[in-house]
């Protein structure tokens, strides 16, 4: 980049920053972040996008910009790590590389890093941890029991090598809690807390919850627990999307209320007749009296099961068209959203909006 261009970008950055102070708008955050990117100031670009998202969490454009900046950030870190690995390799560097690859969904690359690490450092826990996290990621995404079981085996092997590996203990505790293997979750949380996590308030709360759930009369059949999650398509406890393990049946959590309120606004749009969110896996819920709610729940669950058995992966979206108009369905984690609308409403655009609403509601819960 020439000096003149640098000066021009510098001036434009100053102007946009002034404008943002006076009257912040999502488009200005995006423009500023892109200018930072153009001048290779990736960290400033990321900070701008994050700031914008904290003010406008529902902006699709900002979300996409933040995602692409994050990818650039990670790609640059991966390059740096590879350089360092070729100069002075170590198990810790392999672990860092593997984690970054997992973060960018480069699961094949992460498995390759795990294999290289295992070949170079046999008997170390890092390669097991990387592979375990790949399996865990896949289990969380696809709910295939074999992946979950394999992740558990790898983390168990990692803690046998290094019993003070808190990361593995926590993965195990969450994994077992999510599939309802409470007795195992309790013992792994106890080990986690005794190995340096004693101040972790989330772990302390989890432990209390897990202890309440343990039934001493029932012995845990681990493969069956994982299999049950695969068949039903949802967690026994939704540990992954919240800091506290809220049973998926709860409709009164912040995320669900935030989503309902946003769907209320969506239902005001032209052509939209009704919009409704339903928590899935709500086995303790009273019978659903609303026929539309039953339609969403039953079709989302049947579609999930059918898609899995046809090897199509996890069900994400559905469109039912008829003389009545359209019913659009979106499933994200343990929530299904159904929207009844007129046929002229563009399906893809509305489904994108619904998925963004679910994502921003989840962000509310996490904050």
């Amino acid at each position: 980049m020439g000096i003149l261009q640098q000066i021009r970008i510098g001036r434009e950055i100053k102007r946009l920053r002034r404008e943002l102070t006076d009257r912040p708008r999502p488009a200005q955050f995006v423009a500023l972040a892109q200018l930072y990117l153009a001048s290779e100031q990736i960290e400033d670009a990321a900070a701008t996008a994050d700031l914008g998202l904290s003010r406008f969490p529902e902006s699709t454009e900002l979300r996409q910009t933040a995602r692409s900046i994050r990818q650039r950030q990670v790609a640059s870190r991966v390059r740096t790590l590879r350089r360092r690995l070729s100069a002075e390799p170590s198990p810790a560097l392999f672990a860092q590389l593997g984690r970054l690859q997992i973060e960018t969904d480069d699961l094949t690359g992460a498995l390759e890093s795990a294999a290289q690490c295992a070949a170079r450092y046999p008997g170390r826990e890092e390669s097991l941890l990387i592979e375990g996290e790949v399996r865990l990621r896949r289990f969380r995404r696809d709910r295939v029991a074999a992946d979950g079981l394999q992740a558990a085996r790898l983390f168990e092997a990692a803690v046998r090598i290094n019993p003070r590996n808190t990361r593995s203990w926590m993965h195990l505790a969450k994994l077992y809690f999510a599939v309802g293997a409470y007795d195992r979750a309790v013992s792994r949380l106890e080990r986690y807390l005794s190995c340096g996590g004693e101040r972790d308030q989330i772990a302390i709360r989890l432990l209390a919850q897990a202890r309440e759930c343990v039934d001493p009369q029932v012995s845990t059949d681990l493969p069956q627990c994982f299999q049950r999650v695969e068949e039903r398509g949802h967690w026994v406890h939704d540990i992954w999307s919240s800091q506290v393990a809220s049973p998926v049946s709860r409709r009164d959590n912040g995320m669900f209320l935030a989503l309902q309120s946003r769907l209320g606004e969506l239902a005001q749009q032209e052509g939209v007749v009704r919009a409704l969110a339903v928590p899935l896996g709500d086995e303790d819920a009273p019978r659903r009296d609303d026929a539309f709610e039953r339609l969403i729940t039953q079709v989302a669950e049947a579609a999930y099961r059918s898609a899995r058995r046809m090897d199509l992966g996890s069900f994400r979206r559905g469109i039912v068209e008829g003389p009545f108009g359209k019913v659009l369905l979106a499933r994200v984690q343990s929530v299904a959203v159904g929207v009844l609308c007129e046929r002229r409403v563009p399906s893809e655009r509305l489904l994108n909006t619904i998925e963004n609403l679910i994502a921003s509601a989840a962000a509310v819960r996490e904050s």
Partner: protein
């Protein structure tokens, strides 16, 4: 009918298609090696049972098409009144474009108006 399905399968991204009765009996199927027609028909039949009962319960009478999009593929079911056209595609396909071909195939099958159950 087989020819109609074969020509539909030539579309980019279409992995296979079949025509089945509401209770899962296959009329004609042209599926690739990786897809098992009996399994697909049984699963779609179960799905239709749920879908039809939900649609009727809501007073919607019937549905014309159902699209299921999953991580690794899509499933399109077209209601032919006495039978269903089922199309399986990959995840990349733009349904807006291919649905014209699917609707055209459905119309040609509907015109034939007879079921040859094997």
């Amino acid at each position: 009918m087989r020819q109609i399905l074969e020509s539909l399968n030539d579309e980019l991204g279409v992995k296979g298609s079949l025509v089945m009765s509401p209770d899962g009996v296959i009329v004609t199927a042209v599926l690739g090696d990786t897809l098992d027609e009996e399994t697909i028909a049984a699963l779609v039949s179960m799905l239709l049972l749920t879908l039809n009962s939900g649609v009727k319960e809501n007073g919607f009478r019937h549905f014309n098409t159902f699209v299921l999009a999953a991580n690794y593929g899509k499933l399109v079911v077209v209601n032919l009144e006495h039978s269903y056209l089922v199309v399986i595609t990959d995840q990349f396909i733009k349904l807006d474009l291919t649905r014209v071909e699917i609707a055209s195939a459905a119309e040609r099958i509907r015109k034939r108006g007879r079921l040859n159950v094997h």
